[in-house]
């Protein structure tokens, strides 16, 4: 099935070419990989199938690679039809799978870029004063006029940073004396004839929790979602293990995107995501997607699982409760932050919310800065 030229040099060239081709198509390997491929070819010879299997095990390093390799291989050594197939697969999706119309967010994102500008002239912040800061912290984000928003961003970012710093310090102080470290104790005792006079201890190394956050970005959440995205950005910057998702009718992972970039760029990139901004809500469905694709990877006993949503769900409440119960069984803590909880006369009686309540450990508001910062004591 592979028509490789007879001479060794030609073979090598073809394999190098294939490696380049595969890398272009999205397989991630370096020069080491190419060298490995050549070595494998040298060992296996050019007999079609074995070489294919060999190259595959050298060049792949995950299940995704494994699947992609098949296509690359077919395309490179197969017919032209395969080329078209692959191209279609590689093209980014324009629309969410459920046909949700994506609203252009660039106008909404304007607050993100103002962030950048004002951070350069830090003097402006000093004028704000303590009382203004206090007032802003209590204001419901959705009622805030656009020009106050920039200021709020500033304060928020600083407070968020402070909060995560406090989180880290608390962890260190919290450690206590653990087991006796026999190795060091004995080493020390040699000069005293083997009497372990000075005991050496080994401290328990505390590991920060893993944070998994799902943010609802459906229509009903739109007054809050931008602000909350910023909150998540600040939060995941300071958690070593934080995974962030957006959902409306389907689920989109944005961890890598948030990690790789500075806030304004990240916001810009987020607006390009086919996540169904301001669309409908299907919390149960999104959670099912999460349980199916990320369950093994992300759900462990040291995970704190945070959902930011108003609980307006168009899906079936039974499904939501079942999926949420499934999540609850395997995480350390399930926190639901609901912006509506900040409203005076709000009662969590929407079908979705009341179905979810029995599974939730912490149910808290998320409508202003103060409420978000209060999250600290739950993490």
């Amino acid at each position: 099935m592979i028509n490789l030229p007879a001479s060794p040099n030609e073979t090598a060239r073809t394999i190098v070419e294939f490696c380049r081709f595969a890398r272009e198509k999205g397989l991630s390997f370096g020069v080491q990989g190419t060298l490995g491929a050549l070595e494998a070819a040298a060992v296996l010879g050019v007999d079609g199938q074995d070489l294919k299997f060999g190259l595959r095990s050298v060049l792949c390093s995950s299940k995704d690679d494994w699947d992609l390799f098949e296509e690359c291989f077919q395309t490179f050594w197969g017919g032209s039809e395969a080329v078209r197939l692959l191209d279609r697969k590689m093209r980014p999706r324009k629309e969410g799978p459920f046909g949700v119309v994506r609203r252009d967010l660039t106008s909404l994102m304007s607050t993100a870029s103002s962030d950048d500008v004002s951070s350069e002239k830090d003097g402006a912040l000093a004028v704000t004063g303590a009382s203004a800061r206090e007032r802003l912290a209590k204001v419901d984000v959705s009622t805030l006029p656009q020009n106050d928003m920039a200021m709020l961003d500033q304060i928020a970012l600083r407070l968020f940073k402070q909060m995560s710093r406090r989180l880290q310090r608390r962890r260190r102080i919290g450690t206590s004396r653990g087991q006796v470290d026999l190795r060091r104790t004995i080493r020390r005792s040699i000069s005293r004839g083997g009497e372990p006079i000075n005991l050496r201890y080994r401290e328990k190394k505390l590991r920060p929790h893993r944070l998994v956050t799902l943010l609802d970005i459906s229509g009903s959440m739109s007054p809050y979602s931008l602000f909350l995205v910023k909150f998540l950005y600040a939060l995941q910057k300071h958690f070593q293990r934080a995974d962030t998702f957006l959902f409306s009718t389907n689920l989109v992972e944005i961890t890598a995107l948030m990690r790789a970039q500075r806030l304004p760029q990240a916001m810009q990139a987020l607006s390009q995501q086919p996540a169904g901004w301001s669309g409908g809500t299907n919390i149960g469905g999104s959670l099912r997607e999460f349980n199916q694709h990320y369950r093994r990877k992300l759900r462990s006993s040291d995970t704190v699982f945070v959902i930011l949503s108003d609980g307006w769900d168009t899906g079936e409440p039974g499904a939501l409760a079942a999926e949420l119960g499934d999540v609850k069984r395997s995480v350390r803590k399930l926190i639901w932050l609901n912006p509506l909880l900040g409203l005076k006369d709000y009662q969590p009686i929407t079908t979705g919310m009341s179905a979810a309540l029995p599974h939730i450990d912490v149910f808290a508001p998320a409508h202003n800065l103060e409420s978000l910062l209060a999250l600290e004591k739950h993490l």
Partner: protein
């Protein structure tokens, strides 16, 4: 260097064939893809990372490879919190304390005493150190469920896999006499570091197709009737399509078939299915799904 000597493929093809048939003799049905990867392990001396769902024989690969090569198998089971003292080495403290007491009256200097109690006599060898110390031939080192260990251990492992040497501060550096064949397995409960993945050959083990699974059942349970085996395989294969929280692997197929044999069943009927349900599904929800699928008219 590799480019200059591309040999005829016969030897390699035979090598791969030998692994396929050798493994089959040992009761492991390996497809050509896996056999080729293992052939490369023996030739290129690279570690291999085997991934796949639970119960598909990932660990078995290393065990069978060890028997096939006639090499000793050294196994390290990873878990969260695995540290150097349980993976590499530990000093025998009780013995050290005794030795210090015994030598109390002697006129040895402190340095001499220290040298004595930190000699090999007092060293407890854990799997990774064992694999480096093997004297006569390359062992097979199985590092099971590497995804359960933490990143710090992974980094340590990376160092070991590149140099095959271990440094013990009190003794010095030990080099491997024979580079081990390394098999790592992972259930993908977390992503492994790029550096580690890059160093390894990769093999994904998928659920077998009915033909292969049939062959596995008949190889492992020679006493089973063809028809019963076929029924069990069909049943498990369809259960995998039910979107269960823990889809049954080949291990579950074998469990189920063996349970049926033990119960003296000749056919897989509804009663037999219910009696052996625990072999296939591991939660209440899954059991309900399997049962519901069974009673559906298409079954």
């Amino acid at each position: 260097m590799a480019t200059s000597r591309i040999p005829a493929s016969d030897a390699a093809g035979e090598g791969v064939d030998a692994i396929v048939s050798g493994f089959e003799r040992l009761g492991y049905i390996a497809d050509r893809s896996l056999a080729t990867a293992l052939y490369l392990v023996t030739k290129l001396r690279k570690p291999i990372l085997v991934e796949g769902h639970a119960g598909l024989g990932k660990t078995e690969v290393a065990k069978v490879l060890a028997v096939f090569l006639g090499a000793p198998l050294i196994r390290l089971q990873c878990y969260e919190g695995l540290d150097v003292s349980s993976a590499v080495y530990e000093w025998n403290y009780q013995k050290q304390l005794l030795a210090i007491k015994i030598e109390e009256g002697s006129d040895k200097t402190v340095e001499e005493k220290e040298k004595h109690i930190f000699s090999r006599e007092f060293l407890l060898e854990r799997p990774l150190l064992q694999s480096v110390l093997v004297e006569d031939a390359s062992p097979v080192l199985l590092i099971d469920e590497i995804d359960r260990a933490d990143e710090a251990f992974e980094a340590f492992l990376l160092e070991l896999l590149s140099d095959f040497q271990i440094t013990i501060p009190e003794m010095g550096t030990i080099h491997a006499k024979h580079v081990p064949y390394v098999v790592l397995t992972s259930n993908r409960s977390r992503d492994l570091g790029d550096a580690l993945k890059r160093r390894c050959l990769y093999q994904w083990i998928d659920y077998p197709n009915p033909g292969k699974e049939m062959k596995i059942v008949r190889t492992r349970l020679p006493g089973i009737e063809e028809e019963l085996a076929r029924q069990v395989v069909e049943y498990v294969q369809s259960a995998r399509g039910l979107n269960l929280s823990k889809p049954p692997g080949v291990a579950e197929t074998l469990d189920c078939a063996e349970a049926l044999l033990t119960l003296g069943k000749l056919r897989l009927d509804e009663e037999a299915m219910e009696q052996t349900l625990g072999c296939i599904s591991k939660s209440v929800e899954d059991s309900a799904k399997v049962k519901a699928a069974w009673s559906r008219p298409t079954q």
